[in-house]
Each structure stands twice: as C-alpha cells, then as structure tokens.
C-alpha cells in the first residue's frame, strides 16, 4: 500500500481509491475503506441509502478541485473522508474548494489532497484545512514533512485558526 502524509507523519494508506471506470464492476470487500467517485456515491446514497449497507466501513468520496459542492454540502459534511484531486499542481482551485468545505460547510472529517500535488504545497494545503496528502509517486515525502515542520509563523493563520496580520502584535 502506498504511503501518505497524515497529520504530519508518514503512514500507510488504509483507504482504497476507486476510479470512475472501476465502478461498473465494483463490489466492496469486507473491512475495506473506500474512496468513491462523487457521482457513484450519490447513486448509492440516493433514496433510502440502503445501497450503502454493502460497505463494512462508511465510504468517503473524491472530487475534482473545481467541483461545485453547494448542492451536496449538507450530505458531504457527514462523510468520514473527502479527497480532492489536483489535475495539475499549478491549478490551485482545490485550495479554495477545501477551504470552503471546512469554513462554510462545516466539514470535520479527513480532507485529503491527491493527484498532481507537490511536496512544496503541503504546508499551504494544511493551512487550507487538508490533513492528508497523497503525493505524486516521484515526490519525496520526507521533503514534504520537513516543509510542514519548518513552516511555523504566518500572517493568515489557518482555516482552523484564522487571524488578521497584526493580531497579537500591537
């Protein structure tokens, strides 16, 4: 299983991400945690939601960075995991989508960034509310962790603890 950075440390990833193409023949294995595509999950969760009974563990979802979450905000806020895919590291839409989830929709579960995410972005992503980072294969997780440790002070704080620049400094 690949490693991810979770809450500042490197751990084995216990979640399995299901791509859209895999959902046609998909049936959940016992005791496995799954991250499902949003549209597939919506299909399962619609109606009385009994389709989700086939899962031992409540599944999470993954979305693209530019996914509009407003229509599903309430339902998503109860999920254990939301993963946001970065199509290109230079496309920062996901930073705002993540921040919005935490700040406006009150999402408290695991928020992970995956796809084209580079080590040099993790400290900013963390401040936007992400707590798990699944980096590109060629990215160095130790480098990423070191950047998390070395970024202490900021003018904005984080989504959990926002501040104005001069707060506590006058």
């Amino acid at each position: 299983m690949p490693n991810v950075i979770k809450d500042g440390g490197i751990v084995e990833d216990s979640w399995q991400l299901i791509e859209m193409a895999e959902t046609e023949t998909f049936s959940p294995q016992p005791k496995q945690q799954y991250i499902l595509p949003l549209s597939f999950w919506l299909g399962l969760a619609n109606g009385d939601g009994s389709a989700l009974d086939a899962f031992d563990c409540l599944p999470g979802i993954w979305i693209d960075g530019d996914q509009d979450l407003e229509p599903f905000a309430e339902r998503i806020s109860k999920l254990p995991l939301v993963a946001i895919r970065f199509g290109a590291f230079s496309d920062g839409t996901g930073f705002s989508t993540g921040a919005l989830l935490r700040e406006a929709y009150g999402y408290q579960g695991e928020l992970r960034a995956f796809g084209d995410v580079i080590a040099d972005q993790v400290s900013s992503l963390r401040r936007c509310g992400f707590n798990v980072f699944s980096l590109q294969d060629n990215e160095n997780l130790e480098t990423a962790c070191a950047q998390l440790v070395n970024s202490s002070l900021s003018y904005q704080g984080s989504i959990y603890n926002p501040r104005t620049p001069f707060k506590f400094r006058y």
């Binding site: 530019d66 040099d120 401040r127 001069f166």
Partner: protein, 552 residues
C-alpha cells in the same frame, strides 16, 4: 515608514530558507524545470534573454535610505552596477546569477526587503499613490492599509496558484495617481457621510491583450471588513476564473463573462458565508498600522518669506526655474514640497538607475527628506518631504547626480519597459525607440511648448509600460521577423482613465520618431490655445488629422 518586527523577519526568513532549499533541489536535479518554474517565479526570479532577472518588491513604493544603499551594494556585487524601476514601483536586477539569488535575498532581508510574489500567478506587490501621506488632495492615508494588505497577501495559503496574476492598488486622494481602474482590485479610501472610513472597491481592470477599465463592485466597504472582502473576491476568482487559456484567465474576463451584477452577487454570497469575526480588523490593529506612517517632524516655516525667496531664485536662474516648474510638486504642509528625481536623462534607459546614483539618492533623502524615497509608476523617484528653502541646494546636487532632468510630465518623461533588449516575452525593442524619440527633444523650449503629454512604450502585448493609458502609446509588434510599432492615441490615466485607440497600421522602427514629430505638429497646428493639452485637442478634433499627417 513600516519597520519589520520579529514576526515579519521570521515569516520572510522562513520563505528565503524554503526557496534556498528549492533552489538546491533544482540544481541537484531533484526538482524538474516544470515544477521549479512557478516556485521561482513566486520568489521574483525570471529567466530572461541574457541572464536571470530578479524582481524585488518595493511595497507600495516606499524605500528608506538604508534600503537604497543595500540595493546599491547588491547591484554592484551581484549585477552590473545598476538596476531598473518598474511601472509597478518595484526594482529589477537584470544580470544576476541564478545560484546567487538566495544569498541576495538573505542580504535584502537585512533591510526588510524581499522578492516574494513579485511574479507568478499570485497576489503581487500592492501599489499606491507615490504622494501618499503628503498629497494635498488626500482624504485618508492609504499606506497603513497597503501594509496590512502586504502582510495578508504574503504567502496566503489559498491564493498561491491562482488562474493568473492578481494586482491590487490603493489610493486615498481625489486624484488617482495609482491607476486603480487598471487593477484586478482597486481600492479608494473614502469617508462616508457619518465620517466613517471605508473603501470604494473596483474590480476587473487590467491591460495586456484585452485592456479593460475596472467597474465598481462596492460603493462603501467598512474598513474593518477589508480582508474578509478581499478573501471573498479572491476565492470567487480562484474557484471560477478560467484556467484553459492564459489570455482569458485574468479576473477581468470572469467579471465580463458573468456581468458585474452576477459577479458581485457571488462575492457577496461568499463574503456573507465566511465573514467571521477573526477576519475583521479591529481598531487596535488599525491604530498600530497607522502608527508607522505618522507625519515626520516638519518644521514650522514662514511660508510667505520662503515663497518670496524661491521666486527670487527662480527669476535669476532659468535652469532652476524650469526644474521647479516641472519636477516640484505641492505638499500638504506649508513650506514643503515633493520633488521628483528624474530617471529619464538623455541616453539613459527610462527607469534605470546606477549604483552610485542609488547612493546619491540615499544621501539626498537623508539630508533633505527624512531619509525616505518613493518609486513612481512613471519610473522616477520622489523625495516626498523637502523643505522649499532647500530646493535650490537639492537641485544643484541632483543635477550633479544627473537626476534633475526637468521634464517630468512632458513627452520626454517616457515610460518604457525593458523590451526585447532584455525580456523574453517582448516582440520588439523599446529602449532604442525611446532614445530615438528623446533625441528629438534637444531644445527644451520646443518640448515645453508641447505641454503635458504622457508617452509610453511597451515591447509587447503584455503592456508592462501601460501604453493603453498613455496620450500616445507605442506597442512593439513582430511583423514577419521585423520590429514594427503600433501607435495608440487618446489614452488617459487617473480618475478619468481612458484607453487609447489605434491610429492606423503599425510603422517600422526607424519611422516611429518621425511619426511622433508629425503628431506633435498636428497638435501645435490645431490646438485652440496653449492651455489645451495634446489629449484634449485629440479629443476635440478626432483621429483623422493625426492619421493623415503620419501616413501622408
């Protein structure tokens, strides 16, 4: 002037160390070119034609004597003994070595300077009225708010990878000397009927390929809500701005596509959703920010006597008289003036300044202006607080330093980007065109007779010299491998900003100066009095007579 505290130093120092690490990883092959590109841009480092270029931020155009001396040292030690003042009030070093950049950044940190976010698709250096704090027409000093925005925008976690660059300008006077309508966000400080301070918020201005003047987004935003509102605008842009086409990625395109009303609705929604107390500025913070921009200890003077003495000196010295007429600006305090040190002397690339001139300016500022200097969008330097009684001495010294060219606001005060001589993006050179035009002004009386004219030259469509808002704009274009120049007329900056219109087909490089002579001649022939400026005459008589003359 703002002074870093330990907090600022730590934030900037962390960033310098981070960039140093990134540079090491790049040089060792751990970071690919593609990944390193946006990281270095966010730290001000471009790769240009001949050498890397480092753009250093001058927050809202304020520099101390100590900072100028450091810039001088850096230009001697790591560059070729000069640097360049940009149209966004920053400083560029055009000949640095890539691997020395982290060292340069460490040295700049010694004097509270940095190069963070001077490039890349992020929030750029906030610009401001170069006469902030001393202008007669100022209602509220914008600098404390600029400093707050400087800090808030620096290494903002959410807005480092925007669809495109994002520029903010702030003014507090009735005349707009920072061109807020050309910015992604323009802020005008005002006092409402109740005497409360707030901002008129403009959005969606910008030049480049698709020049657009900004629209009003909010008539009055209470000052304490500034950062919460900026966050809302930026978030809407980051979520919905186009990323499929670099030329359609600025916020101006989003605002146009949605319409101002719809865009505003989205911003207000976002604002209402996430305007928690932690994002609001409290009075203590505002007071703290304001405390750095208190008026210097001006000396009370006998204004009448000083004016009389000045008039006497001007009568006896024509050169001094000209300099006072063109390079000296009124000040809100009696007995004081703001002085523009010209970086437009003949034979000099507009905005370039040598290391020894930097040292001169540092010294002049300490002796005559409380040790403080401003950079202007017109690529000159300003000493904001000069005693009128010292003008004569300052004139003599600045003349020696070749900083007293008495042409501010005239056609010889040309604004010019580095062009294809340096810049990778440029399609044509701009500096040689500028000097060819300059050479036509050997007789100052002829130049003065033309009155106020703004002339700006951009070497490509990115419009760094802001040619669209010049009375006469010149844009370099490539025509089958040849340098050609498109001329626009009728642009204006300031509160009545207007975009210029294309005169006709572009002309070859060696015909540009002649075309200028033609334009000036048409103006002289048609103006109804000396008081009617070039652009007013153009407005009255239209394009045809100018076109006829240039293409005859």
């Amino acid at each position: 002037m703002y002074q870093y505290d330990d907090y600022d130093r730590q934030v900037v120092s962390d960033r310098v160390q981070q960039f140093k690490g990134q540079m090491d990883r790049y040089l060792q092959g751990e970071l690919s070119e593609e990944v390193f590109l946006p990281l270095r841009l966010q730290n001000g480092l471009y790769v240009q034609k001949h050498a890397p270029m480092l753009r250093v931020a001058v927050p809202y155009g304020m520099l101390s004597a100590q900072q100028l001396r450091k810039v001088s040292v850096v230009s001697r030690r790591y560059d070729r003994g000069y640097c360049h003042i940009t149209t966004r009030q920053n400083i560029q070093f055009n000949w640095v070595e890539m691997d020395q950049v982290p060292t340069i950044l460490e040295q700049l940190l010694d004097v509270d300077m940095h190069a963070i976010q001077t490039s890349g698709n992020c929030i750029r250096n906030t610009t401001c009225d170069p006469l902030a704090g001393v202008a007669k027409d100022e209602a509220v000093d914008p600098r404390p708010y600029c400093e707050i925005i400087r800090q808030w925008s620096m290494i903002h976690p959410e807005f480092a990878f925007l669809p495109r660059k994002f520029k903010i300008a702030v003014i507090g006077a009735s005349e707009d000397r920072a061109s807020i309508q050309l910015h992604d966000i323009g802020l005008r400080l005002i006092k409402n009927k109740e005497g409360n301070v707030g901002f008129q918020v403009w959005v969606g201005g910008g030049l480049g390929r698709t020049p657009v003047l900004a629209s009003v987004l909010r008539e009055f935003l209470p000052q304490r809500e500034l950062l919460a509102y900026l966050k809302a605008v930026l978030r809407v842009f980051n979520l919905h701005g186009r990323r499929d086409n670099k030329y359609k990625a600025r916020i101006k395109i989003l605002v146009k596509a949605l319409g101002v009303a719809n865009f505003k609705e989205q911003v207000e929604d976002q604002f209402n959703q996430t305007r928690s107390a932690e994002y609001l500025l409290d009075d203590n913070e505002l007071k703290h920010a304001q405390s750095f921009f208190q008026a210097p200890p001006y000396e009370p003077v006998d204004a009448v006597q000083i004016e009389a003495e000045l008039a006497g000196l001007r009568r006896h010295n024509l050169l001094f008289d000209r300099w006072v007429a063109y390079n000296v600006t009124d000040h809100k305090v009696p007995g004081y003036a703001a002085v523009t040190l010209s970086l437009k002397s003949a034979g000099q690339a507009p905005g370039d300044i040598s290391a020894s001139q930097l040292d001169w300016v540092a010294e002049l500022s300490e002796r005559y202006s409380f040790g403080e200097v401003r950079t202007s969008q017109q690529q000159n330097l300003i000493l904001p607080d000069v005693k009128i009684a010292s003008l004569y001495a300052l004139w003599r010294e600045s003349t020696q330093a070749e900083l007293a060219t008495p042409t501010i606001g005239t056609a010889a005060d040309i604004v010019c980007c580095p062009g294809a001589d340096f810049c990778n993006l440029a399609t044509a050179r701009s500096i040689p065109v500028s000097s060819a035009i300059q050479q036509r002004f050997t007789d100052l009386d002829n130049l003065y007779d033309l009155g106020k004219i703004s002339l700006r030259i951009s070497g490509c469509i990115n419009a760094c010299a802001h040619h669209h808002i010049a009375n006469i704009g010149i844009l370099g274009v490539d025509k089958g491998g040849q340098e050609y120049y498109q001329i626009t007329l009728g642009g204006r900056s300031g509160s009545d900003a207007q975009l210029g219109k294309v005169l006709g087909p572009s002309v070859p490089a060696d015909a540009v100066a002649d075309a200028m002579t033609d334009l000036f001649q048409v103006y002289l022939n048609h103006r109804n009095s000396h008081a009617e400026t070039f652009v007013d005459t153009y407005q009255r008589i239209g394009r045809a007579p100018f076109k006829e003359q240039v293409y005859a």
